[in-house]
């Protein structure tokens, strides 16, 4: 069957099971948008290409399926570089299709030409420049394979216009169903080495103060169930990093919550005092370790990761296991069982008591506001958490609101927390929430956003309302770039340089209404719960609530950048623990 490249592109995407793509057409990709009309694939027309990328990420993180975005050449491609880098850092499977100028024009500085594959080389798992229409079905097949297997990540396919333009003879191809992959250099490892698993099981059974350090790899490998069974078998407490919130239920007695720079005292300190860290799908990020040389000084390290390059990268592992987390944890369960399972574990009652004591003495706290004072962000999040269904999907931008959301939400289901961890992309929440809602229309989706973040990508609420993908947005409006303000207060002698934003310029309520949303402004604690309940009732359009929060409020605990995790700073109301 003879097709042109544009038709083959759509057919290839359909063949991958793609149900939705996020994009915005332009000159070079224009011919590919024509066969889209005849396709079963739903297209969501974004207002900015960055939105398309983050929507595809939100979709992928909520569903586990690869997210797909289509944009044009030049500025379309450069606008999606941030989502590519974000997805690369957080291992989110994406396939991004970019238009390119016709093959003959490449290298001539043609209109809307840029070196897309060159620019994105370092922020993609792989990228392709299609040089022949006949390659297209195979390239798309390979792109999805690479994006979704091994350590997932973004793959970009750059397609010159001549290849999708039916008027150009270069676009003609004989359609075929690709079968297999000719990728001799791509062999993702998934099954663990039995000797390493046995060595790990020995360390686990003998450990007196072990902690399971679980990261985003748990969610990527659909290993939340395996993690739960493993933790319960060995009765070892679990910390869940920012990328694995929801990967182990917060309400579980073994759950210690989030470690790291804004982690709670028990999670941070249990890792510091541990004699064994069972690291599963985590990568010793600087925001978790603090000063690496002072991190968990007495701990032996078991490190399981599907990416061998993560093993020994930051911290030497005593036992390194290159494996998919689900396969690896299943193997660990078998190996521990073979040694006697729960019975074979060292007596750790003292360790559990120590941790329970920390939890009781140093919980997350904040000072509630008095009547007439500004809202406390933690209070707003508690109300939001308690007034929404347990399986609500929460998306966050980056900054104070993100940390408060991670701290104060109770995540009891995998894939209910979506945020930008590695890259720290402000403006992530709104488009990611739209993508998540598009993938999970059955779920309630709330974006918790900051006022600074909201201003970066708010225009996508127009997309949400036009496309009938209703999300809800809670802006924690403190009129500042709050996290930067916090650092300036604590580390720069309260010299506030370029962080003030104003609480009501823009008028968030008016702006949201102009974009077709229901909108509210909330300043009084008694109004918080009714406003959330009202928002929860609205399902025919998006809702934005502008919560006016205390400008002075800071995120605690905090480990200052570059400091040891032993130097954790607690809320001012808490006595520092004896050293």
């Amino acid at each position: 069957m003879n097709l042109n490249g544009g038709q083959a592109l759509m057919r290839s995407l359909e063949r991958q099971g793609v149900e939705i793509v996020f994009g915005l057409p332009g000159g070079a990709i224009l011919p590919a948008y024509d066969p889209l009309i005849d396709s079963t694939i739903r297209h969501v027309l974004v207002r900015h290409e960055q939105g398309a990328g983050h929507m595809a990420q939100g979709y992928a993180q909520a569903t586990g399926r690869p997210g797909v975005a289509i944009v044009t050449s030049g500025p379309g491609a450069t606008n999606i570089v941030t989502p590519l880098c974000d997805a690369y850092m957080d291992s989110v499977p994406l396939v991004v299709i970019t238009g390119q100028v016709p093959y003959a024009a490449i290298g001539t500085d043609a209109f809307q030409e840029c070196d897309t594959t060159g620019i994105t080389m370092s922020v993609t798992k792989h990228n392709f420049l299609v040089s022949d229409a006949q390659e297209l079905p195979q390239v798309i097949h390979d792109a999805f394979h690479i994006a979704t297997t091994g350590r997932p990540g973004p793959v970009l396919v750059d397609i010159p216009k001549c290849i999708v333009d039916p008027r150009n003879p270069r676009s003609a191809l004989e359609w075929y169903e690709p079968d297999g992959h000719d990728l001799p250099g791509y062999r993702p490892r998934t099954e663990p080495d039995p000797a390493a698993v046995a060595a790990a099981a020995e360390l686990i059974c003998a450990a007196r103060r072990p902690v399971i350090y679980s990261g985003g790899g748990i969610l990527k490998s659909r290993a939340a169930d395996a993690l739960l069974r493993f933790a319960e078998l060995v009765q070892i407490p679990v910390v869940t990093t920012l990328m694995n919130r929801g990967g182990f239920p917060d309400d579980h007695p073994l759950c210690l919550g989030m470690p790291g720079m804004h982690g709670n005292y028990s999670a941070v300190t249990s890792m510091q005092r541990a004699d064994l860290l069972i690291t599963l799908g985590a990568r010793f990020d600087d925001r978790v370790t603090g000063k690496v040389g002072a991190f968990a000084p007495d701990a032996k390290i078991i490190h399981m990761d599907i990416d061998p390059a993560e093993l020994h990268k930051v911290r030497h592992a005593d036992v390194a296991i290159a494996a998919d987390c689900r396969a690896g944890i299943e193997a660990l369960i078998v190996a521990v069982d073979a040694r006697g399972g729960a019975e074979a574990q060292t007596d750790r009652r003292q360790w559990h008591e120590t941790i329970a004591d920390w939890q009781q003495r140093y919980p997350l706290v904040y000072e509630p506001s008095e009547p007439g004072e500004a809202l406390k962000p933690q209070f707003v999040l508690e109300q939001l958490r308690d007034a929404t269904p347990d399986d609500t999907v929460v998306c966050a931008g980056v900054g104070q609101h993100q940390m408060w959301a991670s701290q104060y939400w109770r995540f009891n289901h995998p894939y209910t927390w979506i945020n930008s961890g590695g890259l720290g992309t402000m403006g992530y929440a709104v488009p990611a929430a739209i993508g998540a809602k598009a993938g999970r229309p059955d779920r309630m989706v709330w974006a918790v956003d900051g006022d600074g973040c909201f201003q970066m990508t708010a225009q996508e609420l127009v997309t949400a309302n036009t496309e009938r993908i209703p999300i809800k947005v809670a802006i924690l409006n403190n009129a500042y770039l709050g996290m930067v303000r916090q650092w300036q207060e604590m580390f720069y002698d309260e010299r506030y340089s370029e962080v003030y934003l104003s609480p009501d310029l823009p008028d968030y309520k008016g702006w949201a209404e102009a974009m077709g949303c229901e909108a509210m402004r909330i300043e009084n604690p008694t109004e918080v719960r009714p406003a959330i309940e009202k928002a929860n009732e609205i399902d025919d359009r998006s809702v934005v609530i502008d919560f006016r929060i205390d400008t002075q409020e800071k995120v605690f605990p905090m480990v200052p950048a570059g400091a040891s995790n032993d130097d954790i700073v607690l809320d001012p109301s808490q006595q520092p623990p004896p050293r």
Partner: protein
């Protein structure tokens, strides 16, 4: 010139557009220093062989290999220890040569198994190949005569064969 401690890696890559840029970009991004680099197609037209020397102090070898291995177009990576490999490098140099010094330079070329490629009234162009240390020696012995232009290829290497009767080392 004292050679810095280095590792020699032989990297087989798919012979596709942009692969060298991916390898070079990875080294730049991760802060690995390349001391020398040689790349050319192999007997299999689908593959190219890159021989590169990495500054051993800039990054742990394991990290370099694991990061390289993540590149989809990298098919295989092998470290060649100096004792277990034969290394060669080609030098082409134009050096000042007066009627008085020409004989001395010719002596050096003979000693080092080099060749004269081109003769001018006051210059000589010569080539020489050998192990990197030998090439270094030749270069420094020519230096007093006045080097006009010089190009080294960067080294290439293959694993050393086993002694007679033993197994032949295979790649």
């Amino acid at each position: 010139m004292v050679a810095k401690p280095h590792h020699t890696l032989v990297v087989l890559v798919e012979n596709k557009a942009g692969v060298l840029a991916r390898v070079a970009g990875l080294f730049a991004r991760r802060g690995f220093n390349i001391e020398s680099l040689a790349v050319a197609p192999t007997d299999d037209p689908r593959l190219s062989r890159i021989t590169l020397s990495v500054d051993a102090e800039s990054a742990p070898l394991e990290q370099v290999i694991n990061q390289l291995d993540k590149l989809i177009n990298v098919v295989s990576i092998r470290e060649l220890a100096q004792a277990e490999s034969v290394e060669r490098e080609l030098l082409v140099v134009t050096v000042g040569a007066t009627p008085e010094t020409r004989g001395q330079i010719m002596d050096l070329v003979r000693i080092f198994d080099g060749r004269v490629l081109n003769v001018g009234p006051d210059k000589l162009m010569v080539s020489m190949s050998g192990g990197p240390n030998r090439v270094d020696d030749f270069e420094s012995l020519l230096r007093p005569y006045g080097i006009v232009e010089l190009q080294r290829t960067g080294k290439v290497a293959l694993p050393r064969l086993a002694k007679a009767g033993g197994e032949v080392g295979e790649f």
